[in-house]
C-alpha cells in the first residue's frame, strides 16, 4: 500500500492519509483532488494517455492494480452486449466456445491487442443479435434466479418468525388475564381458605411454565437448525491406536561393559581427566561426557572377532562393495 500514489501530483497515502484514488475507463489512476482540478468542466483528457474522459465515469479504485480496474470496466461493458445464456445454445461445447470468445475479446481490449478489429467484431455481433440482446437484458441468468430465490426464502422465514413471536406474546397476555380472572373467581366462590387457593394457583402456574420451557426451540433466530448441523464442532480425535511406550535403547558393546555414568565419579575415573573450566561449563560441556566416551571406545569391540563374521554375509558384502 506504500506505493499508492497519484501519478499527477505525486501525493502518497503516507503524506495524505485521506487520499482517494479514482480510475476511469482507461485504467489510469488519479487522486480525487486532481480529478476535481482537471475536470472542472465535466470532461477532459487523461493526463497519462490522453484519452477523452468524463468526470461522471470516475469511481473509487478498489484494486491495488489499476490494470485490474480497467479490465473490470471493460468486462462490464462487453458483457452488456454479450449476454447470451446457456439456454440459447444447442450444446455445452458451443456455450463454452462462446464464453471463450468473450474472454478473448476482453483480453484483447484490456491489453490493446487488435483493438480496432475487436471493436468491429463487437459491432457486428451487436447487429446480428440485436433482438436476442434486448430480450436477454430483461431476463435473469440462472445464478441470479437462484440468488433471488434464496433471498425470497430468507425473507419468508423471517416474516414467519416474527409472526409466531407476535402470536406467542398475544397468547401469553391472554393467558395471564384469564388466569387472573380464574383466581378472583375462585377466591370469590370457593369455600377453601384463601392461602390454600393462592398456593395451588401458584403451583399450577409453575407447571404451565415448565411445560412451555420443556419444548426447546428448534432453530436459532438466524434460521440455523439447532443440533442438526454440527459444522462448528471440532474434528473428533482418533482414540484408537497404541500409545508410544519408551523403551531404553540397548547398546551392543562386543566387549566388557564400560562403567556407568555414576560410577565414573565413585571409582575416581574423573580424577584422571582434565577438569572442566568455567567457560566450558558455561558452554554446556562436562568432563563426564568425554571421559565416558573415551572409556566406551576403549571397551567397545574388544571381544570382536572378524573370524566369526558369517562367510555368506561376507560374500554378499563384497559383491555390494564392488558394485
Amino acid at each position: 500500500m506504500d506505493d499508492q500514489f497519484c501519478p499527477r501530483c505525486k501525493t502518497t497515502k503516507y503524506r495524505n492519509p485521506s487520499l482517494k484514488l479514482m480510475v476511469n475507463i482507461c485504467g489510469h489512476a488519479l487522486c480525487d483532488n486532481c480529478v476535481e482540478l482537471l475536470f472542472v468542466r465535466g470532461s477532459g483528457a487523461c493526463p497519462q494517455c490522453n484519452v477523452p474522459l468524463r468526470r461522471s465515469n470516475f469511481r473509487l479504485q478498489l484494486f491495488e492494480d489499476s490494470f485490474v480496474e480497467k479490465e473490470v470496466d471493460i468486462r462490464k461493458k462487453v458483457l452488456k452486449d454479450f449476454n447470451k445464456k446457456e439456454d440459447d445454445f444447442a450444446s455445452l461445447k458451443e456455450y463454452n466456445d462462446y464464453l471463450e470468445m468473450v474472454e478473448t475479446i476482453i483480453f484483447n481490449l484490456t491489453n490493446g491487442i487488435e483493438v480496432e478489429e475487436t471493436k468491429l467484431q463487437i459491432d457486428q455481433y451487436r447487429k446480428e443479435n440485436q433482438d436476442l440482446i434486448k430480450k436477454n437484458r430483461s431476463k435473469l441468468s440462472k445464478d441470479e434466479q437462484y440468488l433471488e430465490m434464496l433471498i425470497d426464502l430468507e425473507q419468508q422465514e423471517h416474516d414467519h418468525y416474527y409472526k409466531t413471536l407476535l402470536n406467542e406474546e398475544l397468547e401469553a397476555k391472554k393467558a395471564k388475564v384469564k388466569n387472573k380472572e380464574a383466581l378472583i373467581n375462585e377466591l370469590m366462590f370457593s369455600d377453601l381458605p384463601a392461602e390454600h387457593i393462592l398456593a395451588s394457583h401458584k403451583r399450577e402456574m409453575a407447571e404451565e411454565e415448565a411445560v412451555k420451557k420443556a419444548k426447546p426451540p428448534s432453530a436459532f433466530s438466524t434460521g440455523i437448525k439447532i443440533g442438526k448441523q454440527n459444522i462448528f464442532e471440532p474434528v473428533k480425535k482418533p482414540t484408537d491406536g497404541k500409545l508410544y511406550v519408551y523403551s531404553e535403547p540397548t547398546m551392543e558393546w562386543l566387549g566388557p561393559e564400560p562403567p556407568e555414568e555414576d560410577q565414573l565419579q565413585d571409582f575416581g575415573y574423573l580424577s584422571h581427566i582434565r577438569a572442566t573450566t568455567e567457560q566450558e561449563k558455561g558452554g554446556g560441556f562436562d568432563s563426564i561426557i568425554s571421559c565416558q566416551r573415551a572409556l566406551q571406545d576403549a571397551f567397545c569391540g574388544l571381544y570382536f572377532s572378524s573370524l566369526s563374521l558369517d562367510s555368506v554375509t561376507n560374500k554378499s558384502r563384497h559383491n555390494m562393495d564392488v558394485s
Binding site: 483480453f107 566416551r293 571406545d297 567397545c300 569391540g301 574388544l302 571381544y303 573370524l307 562367510s311 562393495d321
Partner: protein, 326 residues
Amino acid sequence: MFSTSTQLKYWIFSGTTEINQLRSEINSKFISGQLAQHMGDKKPDSFLTVEEETKIRRHYEYVLKEFCTKFQPPMPRYVLGTAMAYVKRFYLRNSVMDFHPKDVIYTCVYLACKVEEFNISIVQFVSNIKNDAKTATDLILSQELLMMHQLNYHLTVHNPYRPLEGLFIDIKTRCPEISDPESLRPAADEFLDKSLHTDVCMIFAPSQILRSILILIKPYMNGHHRTHYAANKLLATGGKEHLMKTIEHVKRIKYMVKNTEMLDRDEVKQIENKLELCRNQENNPNSEKYRQKQEELLEEEEDRRLKKCSKMAEEELNARRQLIGL
C-alpha cells in the same frame, strides 16, 4: 560406537588372506579390462603385479604420513588415521594402476580433514603441496566425489586414538600399582603409528589394536603388573574364554605390526617407472587423454545446459501463446 558402525559391517575382513584375495581380484580385473580395450597394444607382463601394487601403495602411505606430520597448521593424529583408512579402503576397490596414489593420497587427506572436523580451506590445504596450486586444487576437488562414492559414503572411521585416552584413564583408575602410566605413552604412540602401515585396521577393532600395546611394552613394567592388569582387571567381566581370545588377537596384531618389511627405495623407484607406463591414462591429469575426457565432460555439460535453456525458452513461449489464445 564401533559395534554398530559401517566400519564393522562393511570394512572388516576375516584376515590377510581375504584382503589379499580382494586385491588380486581388483588387479586382474583392471588388467583384463585394459587388455580388452587396447587389443594387443600392451602385453600382460607390462602391468604391475599384486605385490608391486602393494609396495607402491605402502610407499605412498609413508608419503601421506610425512605430508600429514609436516602439515601447517599441525593436524590432529586422527585425521591421519582416517586418511590412511580411506587410502586402504579405496585401493580395495580400485587398482593402483587405475588411480595413481600420488594424487589419491591428497584427496584422502582433504576428505579426512572435513570428516574429522579439522576445518581448513582448500587454498590453505593446497599451500602444503609442492605442486602447482591450481592443478592440485582441480584434481582434489574433482576426485573428492569419486572418492566418497568409492568409499560407499562410509566416511566415519573409528581410530584407536580416543580409546587410547580411555585406556590410560582406565589404567590410572583401576591399576594404581602401575606407578607411571604416562611413561608408556611414547611407546604406545609409536606402536599405533606403525600399525597404520599394516592392514590391522581392516581386521581388528580399534580397541583390540590398542590393547596390544600392553603386551608390547614389556620393558616398561614388570611382567607381574602387566598380566595382573590385563587379565584380572580389564577382562574380568568376560571370563577366561574371552581373555584367551583377546590375548590371541593381540598376538596376531603384534605379529602383523612387527613383521612389516622395510621398503627398498630403488625397487620402489623402478616400480614407479613401470607404473608410469601402464597406468590408466584416462585418470592421469598430465595426459592428453585425461584432458580430452575432461573436455568431453565439459562439453556434454554445456550441451545439456544449452538444451535445457532452449527447452525452457520454448516452454515459456508456448505458455505465452496459450495465454494469449493463439
